[in-house]
Assembly symmetry: C2
Homo-oligomer: 158 residues x 2
C-alpha cells in the first residue's frame, strides 16, 4: 500500500467511525513530511457548528500542531471531495495537494454532493441565486480607514 493509499484509508476509516457514532460520513487527515499531524471528522450535528466539516477540523488541528495558521508543505487526504468552503480554506492555508476517495458524483445519489453549491459560487456575485450581497461602504476620513489603521499599527511594530 502506498503512503497516499494509507493516508486515504485512514481518512475513510475515520469517516466510518464517525458514522458508527451517529455523525456524517466524512473524515480527513493532514500530512506533513510523511506523517499524519492532524485528523478531523464531520461534527456539524454533534457541535451545532455549520463549519465543522472534517477537513476544516483537520486544518484547525494542523494549525494547532504547527503553532501557525500557515500549512504550506502539508497535504490533505479526505474521504469525500472537499466542498467549496473546505477547498477555499485548504487553498488559503497554503496546502497544495488534495486527495479524496468519494467524488461529488459518487455522493450525488445520497444527497451529499456539493457540486451545485460550487456552480453557484463560481458565478459573479450579482448573478448568484439565494444570496443577497450588499456593499455599504463606511463614510470615514482616510485616516480612519480600517485597513489603514491596521497597516499603520503593523508598520509601527516593524
Amino acid at each position: 500500500m502506498t503512503n497516499a493509499n494509507r493516508f486515504l484509508a485512514e481518512a475513510i476509516a475515520l469517516a466510518f467511525d464517525n458514522v458508527r457514532k451517529g455523525g456524517r460520513p466524512f473524515g480527513a487527515v493532514v500530512v506533513k513530511d510523511g506523517q499524519v499531524i492532524a485528523r478531523g471528522v464531520n461534527r456539524m450535528l454533534a457541535d451545532s457548528d455549520p463549519t465543522a466539516h472534517a477537513e476544516m477540523l483537520a486544518l484547525r488541528a494542523a494549525g494547532a500542531a504547527l503553532k501557525s495558521p500557515r500549512l504550506d508543505g502539508c497535504e490533505i487526504y479526505a474521504s469525500g471531495q472537499p466542498c467549496p468552503m473546505c477547498l477555499a480554506a485548504i487553498r488559503m492555508s497554503g496546502i497544495g495537494d488534495v486527495t479524496f476517495a468519494y467524488s461529488n458524483q459518487d455522493a450525488e445519489p445520497f444527497g451529499l454532493s456539493t457540486a451545485a453549491v460550487a456552480v453557484e459560487l463560481a458565478k459573479p456575485l450579482d448573478q448568484q441565486s439565494g444570496l443577497n450581497m450588499s456593499y455599504c461602504p463606511p463614510e470615514t476620513r482616510d485616516e480612519d480607514h480600517l485597513y489603514r489603521v491596521w497597516q499603520d499599527q503593523a508598520d509601527s511594530k516593524g
Copy 2:
C-alpha cells in the same frame, strides 16, 4: 441610523478592537429577528487557526446559540467582503443576506483582498493553479460504500 447600519457599525467596531489587540482587521455579527445573536473577530494568528476568520467564528457562535448547524433566517454583517471560504460557509449554513463595509477593491492596496483566490476557485478544478486534486476511488463492494452505510444507518433510525 438604520438597523443595518447599526449592525455593520458593530462589525466594524469589533474589527477595530481586534486591531488594537494585535489581530487582523475583521469583525462580523450574525443577526436573527433584529437581534445580534453571535459575534466574531479574526483570530487566525492568536489561535494558529487557518479557518478562524471573523465570519467563521460568528457562524460557529450562531450555531451554538441556536443549537443547530442551520442558520436559515439569519443575516450576517461583516466589516470586510467575505472571502470564498466564508462565503461558501455562509451560503451552506442557510444565510441568504450578507452586508459588508469594505470591499475587495478597498482591501487590495493593503494586501487584504481575496479576489484572486475567488477567481482561481471559480475555474474548473483541473484548470486551477496551485492546487493538485487527486481522485482515488476506493475499491469496495457496493454494500461497503461509505455513503450507503451512512444512509442505511440513517434509514434504520427512521
